[in-house]
Amino acid sequence: MELKLEKFQGPLGILLKLIEQEELDITEIALAKIADEFLAYVETSENIGPEEMADFLVMAARLLYIKSKALLPYLVSVEEEEEITDLENQLRMYKEFIDASAKISELVGAKKFLFSPVILNKNFRRPKKEKVSFVAPTGITKILLRDRFVELLDRLQTKIEPLDEKSLVGKISIDERIDYIRELLTKKLRFSFSKFLETATSRTEVIVNFLAVLELAKQRELVFEQDELFSEIHVVLRNDNVIN
């Protein structure tokens, strides 16, 4: 497990790699472009440990946000604009250190190790490292030990901040809803759009229903019919999809 994690790269590293692969500069456009690739990486990579997954998901969310902004630019506030610039800056900064680490790697690779005086045994060898053992420092007292322990506990305590607890509510995915609509259309051929939306039990479900219908329209599996302006919209299976 540890070995695996040691080899693995963080989300910024992956981002940088994707951007370089596409031969892009670090810009908002580049970030929007590689959002899907990043998601695909997170979905398929087996190298992401549970501790790092959270960092990857945060990054995925930021990228999706940037992508949605590219599609719907007028919905973005100044504050959110700043967050995008932050990511660009963070990435540029990270790249500078990555470039520096390549130089450090060269330095280490050059093997110009420095040696400080050592005591050699009679074969001119450095003595083997002694086994690590515990030796109590001089002047140690019960009170001193107690104080150190309290200090340690204090340090641990201040670092753990309780997080808000929230549980996940079961949601319907767009994929599931698309399957459901397909099934519905093969049975009924057409249905009322408003009545369909009314069946939703939550706001999220309304949105999911809406998106699922739009997606199917985009994929040309269904069409909308409306007799006159503001009248009932019907969702109809496209003729060429009807199996004769």
Partner: protein, 181 residues
Amino acid sequence: MNLLSQLESLLFISSKPLTVKDIAELTGAKAKEVEETLEQLAHDYKEQARGFILIKNNNQYQLTTAPENTELVSKFLKDETSGELSQPSLEALTIIAYRGPITKLELERIRGVNCSLILRNLLIRGLIEEKLDKQKNESFYLVTLEFIKFLGVSSVDELPDYEKLHRTESLEEVLEESVNL
């Protein structure tokens, strides 16, 4: 009394790094004077292309063999140091070397990923050390003399682009901003 000569003797005989404070106490000289003399010594060794150099890190000083002679010395010591580092270790070490003393939080902000495991591994390997700032109740990380010896430089400020990466405005900004998020 010749402080330069005194310092040289102390550094020569000590198998452990010495701090300015150690030397000032021993010699009775002022800390500032000790520091200047140490710089002088380091400068002289380099100037004269001697067989040893004086390296410095976190206020610790030590004499080491000169980088030009590593091969010879390794042969003599039958040293098998490979110097292998994984990519994430290298990344973390680079950031700590340029930005140290640095907190775990800052390191994680730059790398964008949890660094607990890497920090622990680097501590175990003796490449970094942890210092607790009691007033802020926060731990800071620094590279060790061992890491400096690994690089073959006499202190971190000899690293390429050190000034630029040590204090870059954009970094300050990024760190500021992410605190406010």
